[in-house]
Assembly symmetry: C2
Homo-oligomer: 499 residues x 2
Amino acid sequence: MTNEEFRAHAHELVDWMADYLEGVAAYPVKSQVQPGEILARLPALPPEQGEPFDALMTDFKEIILPGITHWQHPSFFAYFPGNSSPPSVLAEMLTATLGAQCMSWVTSPAAAELEERVMQWLRGMIGLPDSWEGVIQDSASTATLCSLLTAREVRSGRGVNARGFDGSERYTVYCSTEAHSSIEKGVGIAGIGRGNLRTVGVDETFAMVPAALERAIVEDKSSGRTPLAVVAALGTTGSTAIDPLEAIAEITSRHGLWLHVDAAFAGTALLLPEHRSLLNGIERADTFVVNPHKWMFTNFDCSAYFVRDTGALIRTFEILPEYLKTAEREPVHNYRDWGIQLGRRFRALKLWFVIRSFGVEGLRERIRRHCAMARELALRISAEPDFEVMAPVPFNTICFRYHPSEPLAEPPSQPRAQRPPPRRAEGPGDTGRLNALNAALLERLNATGRLFLTHTKLNGRMALRLVIGQTAVEQNRRTARALPPLKGLPQEIPAPSIV
Amino acid sequence: MTNEEFRAHAHELVDWMADYLEGVAAYPVKSQVQPGEILARLPALPPEQGEPFDALMTDFKEIILPGITHWQHPSFFAYFPGNSSPPSVLAEMLTATLGAQCMSWVTSPAAAELEERVMQWLRGMIGLPDSWEGVIQDSASTATLCSLLTAREVRSGRGVNARGFDGSERYTVYCSTEAHSSIEKGVGIAGIGRGNLRTVGVDETFAMVPAALERAIVEDKSSGRTPLAVVAALGTTGSTAIDPLEAIAEITSRHGLWLHVDAAFAGTALLLPEHRSLLNGIERADTFVVNPHKWMFTNFDCSAYFVRDTGALIRTFEILPEYLKTAEREPVHNYRDWGIQLGRRFRALKLWFVIRSFGVEGLRERIRRHCAMARELALRISAEPDFEVMAPVPFNTICFRYHPSEPLAEPPSQPRAQRPPPRRAEGPGDTGRLNALNAALLERLNATGRLFLTHTKLNGRMALRLVIGQTAVEQNRRTARALPPLKGLPQEIPAPSIV
């Protein structure tokens, strides 16, 4: 492909991209293909001779696109969003064109220094201590693994890195029962052993119970274990529950444990001053991760990992073979030593474009609007006699389920405003029945292609999860007008009665 | 930024991108900025209000671009190339626009099934066994770490993952003294201990000596260690030396060790049938990595990791929290279980675009041309009285140094065709002097901005490395005509006399 062909095709592509972003709501959110359908349409052997770009685009549209689940669809409410945004896409176009590596300062000084600057910006924007430093990782899984590895090396005096485990370490790690699976995965990778991850109980808001954490630490100490690290979640994956950071930091300080804060999704809400108090205690934490690629309109991958002690991070990962030695050692940042991978894309550019294009206030407005929409929806769900909200809604994630107040054989028929009598206590049989009912409902909803929800389990009860955080999500004003006025609804989202 | 603004800006950007790729040769290859220069031009605080795109582009051009080292420059001969290409950039534009996740099949079925198919294509293109399966990782560092972790889990019966090291493992890992730093880093991360990485001696071609490997294994066994894994390099980072795979596989089979093949850079040469014999013995290896993002014209990140036993890989990494459970378990591929990260970009698209756009034969032609250019340059260097080639040139990487045959005080003055008398044996003092001289030469060359070389050390001797593998590299025919005809040069690149 010549440069002139590239120019022509790229212009065609831009129109396709703009049309796509404009019309994405017309696609089924969740791809409706069956397993193997796409594979069967892709030839078993690659072409020997080059093909024209038109052939690629035709196949892209006809074969690939039907198999895409549209993460940028305004009605993508599944998982956590993996947001893109126009300025972020523009930056990715430049990043792809430059193809510059950001492993050492010298491999692209601007990539390294822009990363340093935007991490300083982000640190201030979300209220982390000024003395911390940041680095962009690919994912929170990697950031959490880096944190656990750094904890391991700090505690072992860099002994594990140097000599391997000798069996005397007997480390234990702590998180809540609601914490993300990447912690268990990371504890395994780091050689600590998944079985040495203690999952601490949660309260009725699904937040870690500090007293239970301390009990577990004390028990482990008394049985000859070495409690190593705690991972606190600001926004769990299931219901965005908020572990009490200050109380946890008090415990980790007292017992000499490492503290990692996983704010991968909900950390973006720290842009709002009204949420800033969630960070109380952060000065006693060691590391923190938030993913702008989730809720901050920045293309994946862009996971912002902040550390209190940069030296400890670098000492965990640095390695200096001859072919990577450069004249510039200090004070430049050679980010290859700040994590696992050597090769690194120029990822700071898109975050720079996003922050400058939206402006910090523009980001805040959107985040606030998402939280307001979620709150309104949670109120409306809780006012429905046949639905219940299953967990608090501190940000923009609503966990709810269908729980018909009438026997299941009959269709729900009660008028909206009339609350049903309190339900009898839910037995194990009821839970199984309701879980199956909600699984069926989830499947039916997703099969419509009109929205995409996922689920979680809270105290063994299946909950549908609905996350309002898409770049393009808007309240449908026409539908909204057809709904009963919000003032007729309860002002508080009722506490879940079933936890 | 509205969709219409996005459309307009993206069109502007495409023209900038095409102009850039067309004119990249006019930039200094290696950025000439000083440490801190870029940072000082970036404001300390982010803007509260959004800024127009024009302001971003102005700053991109004026502040960022001077700090970019141009990896797509045709005279970028440093490190290994991190190639982009027009079809790959086009694919990245689509990937960024879709912003689709490829962590589970359901999160984008087409992304998962296209990854499956292009990994099958690539497997066949480079001659790996049909029964192996592939997955795209971000980098060879990660792939090698995955391999070491899988070896650890297979050997420990998944005990380390489950319970952590108990001190009885005492694993040792082997690679040559020329192997990549990611192995040492990975051995540390995996908890085996960098000190338990044995670096095996190399022969005069800088390839691992199998007998030395076996001696090290036997010694470790007899001192109560458990030899775990060998990493063989098809193309070391320093000089692209080729470890003898067949002999190594014979040893790992006999002693029951895991065998990982690191062909990150030179694996692309396996596209050429004339290099295919390098893979002899591969059926007894366990894992293999090649980076299309290096020499196969595919944007970073795209590291192709192939494994003989997919089950062993998945059992090392899989984890299934409730919120990731999906109806489709088999036979779909949920690539989140094939590596460390949960979140994964839709990376197969660019490799698909590249293979289809170039065609396999088109890729071969380019790779062949790169190798031919490197061979010609190596011949020309070896014919120069004041330069010497320091290592064999099996692919497209030339290690050489300036070694004036006259005393250093005088400028090199001998006519080109006249070979100098054999040099006297090189003492340690000479080596230090020559290293300093070549370091100065390297710095002076790179400061011109006209090309970018890096260096390595071979037997303690500093060598300049020149890798001819850029997407846009061409032989300058005008310059070539001014050179003495190739037939006047030696037909064989003289064996390095100084190893």
